[in-house]
């Protein structure tokens, strides 16, 4: 039986999670698994069982680094990184607060800067992240200063010069 969560995850990710036969290769190779509560193969099982609330509230879906080790090793060609992305999108749509709020904050700030300028700009992303995240303000100040004095965070960012065109892509890609 395919429940609503499975259908939605499959639709958003382009995967067929029913193909999973739980060989655990994904979990065995996941570099982040020790930080997770369930791990990739149990996440797939929980999708199949329709455990929506537990999943959307779990840190696991936000901790995935998108390294594609699972996607590479899965004998059934399930791209589990994309399944994690789908679960993040469902959580955001349903207004479920991210269990790793700083991870989600970083992605939103990054995309906000790209939407505004057409390109990424560390000066803005790092600055906003420092102010808005739960990470103590002084953490990484030394590294930030070191990047700055090496000319790696330019004072004036380079724009693509095509910001309206790029913003249009954001608007149309909903």
């Amino acid at each position: 039986m395919i429940n609503d969560l499975t259908s939605e995850v499959n639709r958003l990710s382009g995967q067929q999670i029913e193909m999973c036969y739980h060989c655990h290769k994904c979990t065995a190779g996941c570099p982040i698994v020790e930080q997770m509560s369930y791990g990739p193969d149990r996440v797939l099982r929980m999708v199949a069982l329709g455990e929506t609330e537990t999943l959307l509230n779990s840190a696991d879906i936000w901790l995935c680094a998108g390294c594609y080790t699972c996607a590479t090793r899965c004998p059934n060609d399930i791209d589990i990184s994309s399944v994690m992305d789908a679960l993040r999108q469902i959580a955001a749509q349903q207004g479920v607060a991210a269990a790793e709020p700083d991870v989600y904050l970083f992605h939103r700030l990054f995309m906000g800067v790209v939407k505004t300028m057409g390109r990424s700009y560390e000066g803005a992303t790092l600055g906003l992240f420092k102010v808005l995240s739960h990470v103590p303000l002084m953490n990484d100040m030394g590294a930030g200063v070191n990047l700055f004095i090496r000319g790696k965070v330019p004072l004036i960012p380079k724009s693509s010069g095509k910001t309206a065109e790029i913003r249009e892509i954001f608007e149309r890609s909903r």
């Binding site: 958003l12 990710s13 382009g14 570099p31 982040i32 930080q35 901790l63 680094a65 998108g66 390294c67 594609y68 080790t69 996607a71 590479t72 791209d79 994309s82 992305d85 789908a86 993040r88 999108q89 955001a92 790793e100 700083d102 991870v103 989600y104 904050l105 970083f106 992605h107 990054f110 995309m111 790209v114 057409g118 390109r119 990424s120 700009y121 560390e122 790092l126 992240f129 995240s133 990470v135 953490n139 990484d140 590294a143 990047l147 090496r150 000319g151 790696k152 965070v153 330019p154 380079k158 693509s160 010069g161 095509k162 065109e165 790029i166 892509i169 954001f170 149309r172 890609s173 909903r174």
Partner: protein, 286 residues
């Protein structure tokens, strides 16, 4: 040979020396890089968190620009390469996505432009034998391990470059430059990527293990081709003894005896000059 060049956001910022050394090496080999006019961010590791369509449409706009330029697209940054190659993959294999993205971006996908990482271009179009002939100062005595990270080789059906478990291209290029390449099993392990700011502890742990394994293998430095791997390695080591991470293009530029190589070392967060001078390589530049 002329190539469309996509530096991406990182090569103007945290990966400054990757951009400088790529341009210097290509110029030395008479391979012309023409930067795409009006390129945009590929979406990196953030766009696909928000929307699959956006994660294909953003890089697809760059593919459209390269298509108009009519040359293969060279993307040094591993994330840029991965995202543009993924866009190319979905445009090629998913007709529904293709129709949607063509309409969003306003172009017709031809499939004629190849998206390629710097190492593929150097290895396939120039070749390690020819590169070896350009070497004026072989990197003898420099012990390194090749570190690819994730996005150059995974997922393999998308990247179609080298081997995701046992990659060979970087080692061949480094041997051509005269470096001593040591065997190790962690060339395609993950560094923690964009968790670096939000969960620094996770990245410190992964980077710490990489450096420890590199040291066990007998290496003095790691060699990368990814700006995020490079900055994570140099920024997130917590051990007392620090190990620098070079870009593959820095290694080649040094071996070619390019005078501008001296300007790259001070850009590193971990100064690589002690490692270079230990191998007797700093003074010989120029």
């Amino acid at each position: 040979m002329e190539y469309a060049y996509y530096p991406g956001c990182s090569l103007h910022s945290t990966g400054l020396e990757f951009g400088l050394s790529t341009r210097a090496v290509f110029a030395h080999l008479d391979m012309e890089l023409v930067e795409l006019e009006g390129w945009n961010c590929c979406g990196a590791s953030s766009a696909h968190v928000v929307s699959h369509t956006l994660a294909v449409a953003l890089p697809a706009r760059n593919l459209a620009l390269a298509q108009a330029a009519g040359h293969d697209l060279v993307a040094p940054c591993a994330a840029c390469f991965n995202r543009m190659k993924a866009a190319d993959y979905y445009l090629r294999t998913d007709p529904v996505m293709r129709a949607e993205v063509e309409s969003i971006v306003g172009f017709k996908y031809s499939g004629e432009v190849a998206v390629r990482p710097v190492m593929a271009v150097l290895y396939e179009d120039y070749g390690p034998e020819q590169i070896a002939r350009q070497v004026r100062h072989p990197l003898e005595g420099l012990k390194v391990v090749p570190y690819y990270g994730c996005l150059l080789v995974r997922p393999p059906q998308v990247t179609q470059f080298d081997d995701p478990d046992n990659p060979q291209v970087m080692a061949a290029l480094l041997r051509a430059a005269g470096a001593e390449v040591l065997p190790w099993s962690h060339a395609t392990d993950c560094c923690g990527a964009s968790l670096s700011l939000s969960r620094a502890d996770v990245v410190q742990n992964l980077v710490g293990r990489l450096v420890e394994r590199a040291r066990e293998a007998g290496a003095d430095a790691l060699v990368t081709a990814c700006p995020l791997c490079q900055v994570n390695i140099e920024m997130r080591q917590t051990q007392e003894a620090k190990m620098p991470a070079f870009y593959i293009t820095e290694m080649l530029g040094l071996a070619f005896g390019l005078p501008e190589a001296q300007k790259w070392w001070s850009k590193h967060l971990i100064d690589p000059r002690p490692v270079l001078s230990q191998a007797g390589l700093v003074e010989r530049v120029g």
